[in-house]
Amino acid sequence: MHTLTTLAASLPAATIGPAPEPVSGGIYLVAPALVGIPVLGAAILLLGGRRTDRWGHWLGVAASSLSFVFGAVVFVALLGRPADQRVLDLSVRSWIDAGAFQVDAGIRIDPLSMTFVLLVTFVGSLIHVYSVAYMEHDADRRRFFAYLNLFVAAMLTLVLANSYLLLFVGWEGVGLASYLLIGFWNHRTEYAVAAKKAFVANRIGDLGLIIALGLMFANFGSVSFLDVLGDRSAQVSEGVATAIGLMLLLAACGKSAQFPLQSWLGDAMAGPTPVSALIHAATMVTAGVYLIVRSAPIMNEAPTAQLVVVIVGAITLLFGAIVGCAKDDIKKALAASTMSQIGYMILAAGLGPVGYAFAIFHLVTHGFFKAGMFLGAGSVMHGMDDQVDMRRFGGLARYMKITWLTFMAGWLAILGIPPFSGFFSKDKIIEAAFVPVAGAEWRAWVFGTVTLLGAGITAFYMSRLFFMTFEGERRWSTQRDGSAQHPHEAPRLMTWPMIVLAVGSVGIGLFLALGGKFVEWLEPVTGTPEHEEPVLPVWLLITLTLGVVVVGTVIAYRRYAAATVPVVPPLGTALTRAARVDLYQDTVNDVALVEPGQALTRSLVFADRAVVDGAVTGIARSQIGLGEITRRVQTGFVRSYAATMLLGLVVLVVVVLATQS
């Protein structure tokens, strides 16, 4: 513990960026419109009703695209400022003013928030376009677009907020949008249950954020970034910082499906595929990473919390990867992969200043290649009559060339093959994980090995997914109406977004990594890390990483492309069977949480029936029987009520008199 604190003491100077500069005019005034436009879009679509059915989806696309344009304008303006003046606070108006407690609703414009704005609006607009075709035959397409716009608005609120309270508003907003979209096809019971599961897991996470808010207010007297993350963050005791850090981590775990709140993400795949691409791959689930990186000054004061963050990231990374190896449902395999990749980001964020920038870097590249692959999966489902079982795919490369090629770009990117984008971001995280921590040499080795191992498993399951879908022989089932499958390429409105994302998957990593451009851009927020060498030389790490990736890919090729894939899943090893059921996460949840909860509820229900409801049931019967029972029940209960009150009163009086002396 002693060494940890000395480490912390040596670091803070590196992490506190320039103080935010208040702005009140100029081009930055368009920033509120970033949120306002999609809100307006959603409002028109929801209030307009059926009248807007014909053009509503294009309105949704336009709102999202316009937000992107405005975002780009602000981004260019920000680029035009010197690097140390790129943190701006735009106060919109006083929001809550209750005596000592004041919150201004304001916007924080800095490199971190603008990175998210561009990612959310750019990928979001592409997915809006894709959805126009994907949801074409859905009677409620307009409502779908309204929710998508609502999501974009909430996500932008989350990242643009300049206080934790406003962030919380966005945080709840994206949760609501996610909830509405998972349950979009709520006529299917299982989907409604999935939506509920996501809701409960998120509520537990939200609780963490609320408690963190309370702790901040108690210690800083404010919840704005300016006060909490400014110079004063170094003045709180380590215990307080650790408590806040752990609560923020809990919030991040709920939103980003990290261990132990990971169970909802797989089920959330019940939503339409564009939703999985936008919300459950590219943006919303990464909000946890944003929260941790945004709170860097607090996290830096809490080495213990940081260690927990790293551990959670490492566990989830392996958990998701192992689950991904056994899933036959293409969307669930991708969901497991998302969980695992976000594990990488959380791990990087927990490493402190050496990792923050790479966490965000990987987040951006992941946003491109994972969204691209999800859209590819949607395209496959579109061509295969909504079939999702990969054991029923095979040999699709010939029939959907564009999907195949774009998916390949995403696949190579997530594998981390140079020069595809995942190489630049993931490899940096592996290097950062191998950077030694003074006084705790074991950490570099343990976490470094986990990330390295994760890369190998990732290569295996993603190759498995790719080969089972596009290579090998056909294993197609019939369509639901009994006719043969006719896989075909998706319409242009769907393929173009995929192509654009594929280009991003190929090039954005190299583009942003050249000359350390991206890391430098984020420095005002993440701080300038001191350069440190990993325990192994960098060239060896790159070689090792590529080595395990190749091994994983070759194994996958031999088993799923060269050999015949059985249509019925084989029994498999104990680990495979466990992974198929998400490593028994639901069983664990049931035993640890649901059953005690239900037992408690049942006993309450019993007590309620016996004691409280007795009166009501008595009345219901008396309406029929009109008689003796009623009077008896009536008298009995008033007496017992009065007894309760009297007993309570006596206890209170006794307590007062007892504490008096």
Binding site: A98, A100, V200, V605, A642, L649, L652
Partner: protein
Amino acid sequence: MSDFTAPTVAWAQLSPVLIVLLAAVVGVLVEAFVPAARRRAVQLGLSVVALAGALVAVAALWSGVSDDGGTAVLGGSLIVDGPTLVLQGTLALLALLALLVVVDRTETGEDAFAPSASSVPGSEYEELARRKGVEQTEIYPLLLFATGGMLIFPAAGDLLTLFVALEVLSLPLYLLTGMARRRRLLSQEASMKYFLLGAFTSALMLFGIALVYGYSGSLRYSTIADATQEASGLDGLLLVGSVLILAGLLFKVGAAPFHTWTPDVYQGAPTPITGFMAACTKVAAFGALLRIVYVVLPGLDWDLSVVLWTVTILTMVVGTVGALVQTDMKRVLGYSSIAHAGFILTGVVALNQAGLTAVLFYLLVYGAATIGAFGVVWLVRERSVQPDGSAGAVLGEASHLSQWAGLGRSNPALALVFALFLLSFAGIPLTAGFAGKFAVFSAAIEGGAWPLALIGVLSSSAAAFFYVRIIVLMFFTEPAGSPEAEGAAAAEDGASGLPLDVPAAQVPAEQPATALAVEVRAAATTTTTVVGTEGFAAVAIAVCAAATVILGVAPSWLLELIGGVAQFLP
């Protein structure tokens, strides 16, 4: 007799109270002298004018009070200061909104009250009165008397006035509770329970007043406050007396362990009256509680905080846990009001300026959402189904939760508004409830009561679950009886582990030939329907919804306004 000097009465300061009580007296005369056919219209006009007049009177007094901090009138029996005016304004406004729901006869042409409350439920006489369309317009003066008592309650400057105000507000409420048109036995039982338990606590409170008088030799708040500062050997007298007085007030706000009446009475009372009671009684009682705790007992802060802390924690927990297992909408809202009493108490316990402001603000937003929510419950009815499948007569409120399934599809606007109120109860950001919760919890943290704030946050998180469950029920669940509903309901049940009982509607019924039995029999096969309003209730619900949204998005102006005058006159 010659040395008698008439007290100077500051009529202006009394005007809000006087207007309402005078109108109530006139209302009694109206009952006697105006022909039955025109009585309702006259009573309605009179009540609206009186409550609006009280509101105007409060507004007229505002600037004076915010300048000089207020005055004690009637020799200190009533204190007209900032908090009094805020509370009286809130009360007049909420009572006006509640009145609009009360007067609404809906498109069925029947109001919420028994046509002849004195007749035996189910008797021929009652059926006759019903057919003739008899109405009991006495409810209007009763409502005004209750409101008048409520206006005095938080302004009382001595314990005797406090007690008289308590009785003035309580007695009409006991009566109103027992006057429901439907489910009359339930209503009368509720009334009886409320009365017995109310009388019980009145007696306790009176005993407490006597003890405190014994200690301090005065009933005047300020004198008692001075007396608490001085050491004496009679501390036990003062402490027990204070606890008894607090118990009387905590009973009125519905705080545990004095909450037992709440769910039963809320369920039994006519729904519009429940809305009025839930909102206005809470405002008045919290107002009185605030004055006692902030003005009379600060000297006992250390000794009594254990009582307030215990009660606060217990109330939040009991309210939340109780609501989780309810299957009746009115009982859910009843338990929810208990939980809210707990949240408001955290602000009271804060014992600081911010806490005072926060409580006053919370009372308004909670009251608005409550009246709105009960207004909606009043409009969602059972409709009997004839044997041939056609729709029959409109019956009482469809208060079983399962009857609300699918309301979001059949009546999206109403369901949306109700969802808004529920979200406000749950304290979701951008609703007024969130601003209120944030204000009380941050005040509690500031006042060092962070464990209370923590428990408050935890229980409001748990509470969000059952509010959202209702929203899910309205929007995402098939109505009972539809083919898809059975499987979905089973899955819903199994997954949540919460009970959705067999609706009371399915209880097989014997069939005696009375109006009451007709209701019961019809209930065996009913559908849920939403009745149209005469316009009054729609206005009230719309105003409540607007307030919930506006105060959620922009609460600061009101917080500032309240904060500017929230200072008790010693």
